[in-house]
């Protein structure tokens, strides 16, 4: 992440699967998670079952459903909600961060990693695949990298 994007972004939302999102506070570098009792908290380490939220698009805004209770996430404290008589739910409006996208693209560029000069095959010329994994464009969807076909 470049410093510029960190200054401007408050929460980093990453989609891990269709409809499933991981939320991280940029300044604190904490993952937003829910413990099995349904309490929100920040965690240093990502755990899939606690920190993956289901995304629900409502009225152009996004709501996040808790992984355990499937209740929408509210960022207000209980007290401030109680004063008005009901709990306020948080609506999010995620904005694409071009800085982040560029960074991810660069990271995937092949051949950027330093070759291992202590290897007999530093450029991976001898990377082989087994014949039972032959790639065909009309059959397969994706091919990760050469050699891993």
């Amino acid at each position: 992440m470049t410093p510029v994007c960190c200054v401007e972004g408050v929460l980093e939302l990453r989609s891990v699967r269709p409809g499933e999102t991981v939320i991280r506070g940029v300044a604190a570098s904490l993952f937003l998670c829910v413990n099995p009792a349904g309490h929100l908290r920040g965690q240093w380490h990502y755990t899939e079952e606690d920190c993956t939220f289901r995304e629900l698009l409502v009225d152009s805004y996004t709501m996040f459903l808790s992984p355990h209770t499937s209740l929408p996430v509210s960022l207000r404290s209980k007290q401030s909600g109680k004063k008005r008589g009901h709990l306020h739910l948080s609506h999010f409006l995620p904005v694409k961060n071009p800085g982040l996208l560029i960074e991810e693209k660069d990271g995937q560029e092949p051949g950027i990693e330093d070759p291992d000069v202590n290897s007999e095959d530093p450029l991976g010329f001898g990377q082989m695949s087994q014949a039972h994994a032959i790639f065909s464009p009309s059959m397969h969807r994706k091919k990760k990298r050469r050699g891993l076909q």
């Binding site: 560029e109 000069v117 202590n118 007999e120 065909s136 464009p137 397969h140």
Partner: protein, 1024 residues
Amino acid sequence: MSPGSNPSSPSMTRVHSSPWVLSLRLSLLLAIWDRAKCGSGDGKSLWQRPLTNNDFLTGTFPDGFLWGVGTSAFQTEGSWDRDGKGASIWDHFTHKLYRMGNSIGMATADTASDSYALWEQDVESVRYLGAKFYAFSLSWPRLFSDGNSTGPPNPVAVEHYQQLIRMLKALGLEPVVTLFHWDLPQSLQEHLGGWKNPEMVRVFSDYATFCFATFGRDVRYWITMHNPLLLALLGYGTGAHAPGVTGDPADPFIVAHNLIRAHAESWHIYDKQFRPHQHGQVSITLGSHWVEPFKGQATAVNVELCQKSMEAVIGWFAEPIHGSGDYPSSLQVSHQGLIPEFTPEEKLWVRGTADFFSLAFGPDTPRAVHSISSFGQSGMLNLRKVLVWVQQEYRDPHVLVAESSWFSDASVGVEDTVAIFYMKRFINQVLQAVVVDHVKVFGYTAWSLVDGFEWNNGYSIRRGLFYIDFNQPQRTRVPKTTAQFYRKVVKDNGFPTNETGKDITGQFPCDFHFGVVHLQPFSPQFTDPLLYRWNYTGDGTLRPVIGVRLRTRGSQCSDFLAIQRHIQLVEMTGTSHYRFGLDWPQLFPNGDISSADREAVRYYRCLLTELQRKGIQAVVTLYQPSLRSPTMGMPSPQHDSGGWMNTSMVEAFANYATFCYQEFGSLVQVWITINEPNRLIETYNRNAQDRERVVRNLLLAHARAWNIYHTHFRQLQGAKVSFTIHADWVEPANPFVKSHRNAVQSFMLLELGRFLDPFLKDMDHPNKKTVLTDERAELKGALDFIALNHFTTRLVLSKAPLTETYNHGYSLMYDPTWTSSKKGQALAPWGLRRVLGWVKDRYRDSRSIVITATGIDDQASHDDQLRQTYIRSYLQEVLKAREMDGIDVGGFYVWKLQDHHGSDFGFFTSSHHRSQPKASVTVYRELISQRGFPVTTGDPVTSPLVMPCELNERRMACWLCNGLAENRPLLFFGICVTISMLMLAGVIITSVVVKSRKHKRRGVIQILHKKGVLLVFESGNPIL
């Protein structure tokens, strides 16, 4: 032979002390000072402007290019104490470590490759390669056991080297002689402290003088020392090399300083005393690494650091000798206080003391410097860029690549397949530097001739072109496959021909299918009669209102807006054929005919009708298995009951096929039953017996579907039926290994033979065990044409012989020098022609072959140059197969019409990206309109000679009806006016007729009325 003019360097002659010479020196000094301040060369631009033409270059080196091979004395000679040889620092170092049981693997070089005794075998090996020179080094302690060259030499050693040189000369081989390759006499280390002592400058130049005087008559190329950087860094810095001195950070710099001065002194001696009558050239071999900016980001800071990295390694020695006469300023700044200073006189005296640039590019230098001199940048192995950097930094010198190769692990042995690709890549990078960048490289040294003692790696890594078993006392030299490869490169003087050969001109016949493929176009129309209410309970969801049903209008083909748009794309490519797959689960949701979805049927009928109306032939795939589909493209009941493992699939597929023939048959010109059954079977990750069952069911399903069509539909509908097979080509990974060559045939039999043999061959097909005799009769001939999906070529290697039950005995890889796509698909057009040749040779069948899918992924969203090249070059190969090999290829279908998401295989971007055409659409369209590669007339104004086709005429006619269709309102209005006029005329005529012949009135009106109905009907018909 000569790399250039003999050096004439006035500034390098010894300085005399007369006043005007002094002033000249001063101005020269100022000039040098200026140059040093603003950086010596233009090497930095390499990181700012990337080099062009990075693909593998076909071509040869200039005439007279010197091909050679090299060794060094200590690594190969052995006989460490024979015939009066003294110990070198490396003898001492290895013996000491051997006693301590060190990590070198208890290895010494006491015998090594035994080249001192077997030198004639070495010369024989050089001849095997066809090389023009042999680069070797003299053993200083062999010639002078105490290193003192002012005393008498060891006569046996002198005779040994003289014999070697004489033999080389007699065979027409040029000796390239290195004076010092790190094996300093141990006594000089003990008495003088080795290279830390400035006295070494004189001691070395005495030794050099002796060598020039003794051997110089026959030596044209002298190298004073080999890669002194490693001696300084590893010998006096880390201690990994002899003499193993560590501790003082200034030592490497002092050592380097003395090495440079010793070299310069020797050069001056040769220049003055020997050059006039010996006419040789002297240089010093300098090792280099290469760096690229961190993460490929060529920021000003990164570029500066890259340059600094190069200056700290090769520049350390090259800048004094080939550049300004002083150390690079970046190195002086970073090592202030450690690095000695040259006096102004020394700078002039050191500068220019090399007659050509001798470059070493192998594993040793990158391995030594990658942790200390990378400055956070990325190390890379790019010999071409090093050569261009040298060209730009040191004023375009003549260059000898004096050491080049990577290494293999000792276990690799003789079949060093991977090493071939490193050699191929490095030599091609030199060719690119010569041809594209005009670097004056005049020679290349493959390193090394024989396996030897690899310094601190002992015998655990190998760099020889000839294999040696160090446990064998005979030390037999066995050529590795790299030796065979190098021999071919030397013989060809490069890479004169590519596999593709020259393009030919010619056209495809009128009935040739130019096609485009799409996976499964389907977009059901929204015809929901329910009424919904949003957010009624405040939960933000849509809920249907119970009890309300809306009236929807009857469905029409024009509801499917997507069809119009989709076919517009097909039309833009100009193809005559469009191939797509039906969605089996969509048509049969519950897997049988009772559940047939009429809406889906209607959609496909609309699509096919519209295609027919546009004059585009439909090629329909019944079953297109895809990993996109969770059920592998079959209805879920079939998938759940085991898919193709279950024999009932044959019946289910036959029923489905019959249904499709009935519903769509009148609109389909070609049927493909099953797409790529050879890929489909791999999804059944089971034992070999199960896989054979899957194969059997697939073959029978196709045969059943073909027979049904043949018996019940062919007469009426007249389409062709086949199945497609994934038919990529393979080449042997190592053409010099028999098992790799055999693997090609075994692989093709497993991939193609397994599926095509039962249909096209009488006996002996691999499935005879699994397919019963009566079934065999059902398969035989059940194929109207051979359909191949071909995308790329791979390399195959096999360790075990292949069998039909065990097919994992071989591996696949790519030739890294091939151009390839982002997804790693290699562009190897000749592979297509070879597949066609293989099929023709095997079956000798009269059926035509159709390339039912071919294409490549390209990241470009518009200018997809890789795809353009792919389409042109692969279509060229089809033409060659037709014209030159006499193979009846009937069609060429490009995969595929449109991207799904991002830039991929599509001619058009995805609908999210507004279905924009890429540049390859125009290329393909032009190829189609010219029907291939017609002979162009000399005059650029006149168009190529294109013979007209009926097809074109039909398209013209269709264009006319399109024109009419587009002006529908006008046409309708016109017809209305005509009818009115006719009616009016009719009324008038009638009234006239009534007056004259009352009894004929009724019939006339009827006729006119019929005509009017007919016209209205026609105007409404063509549009959906």
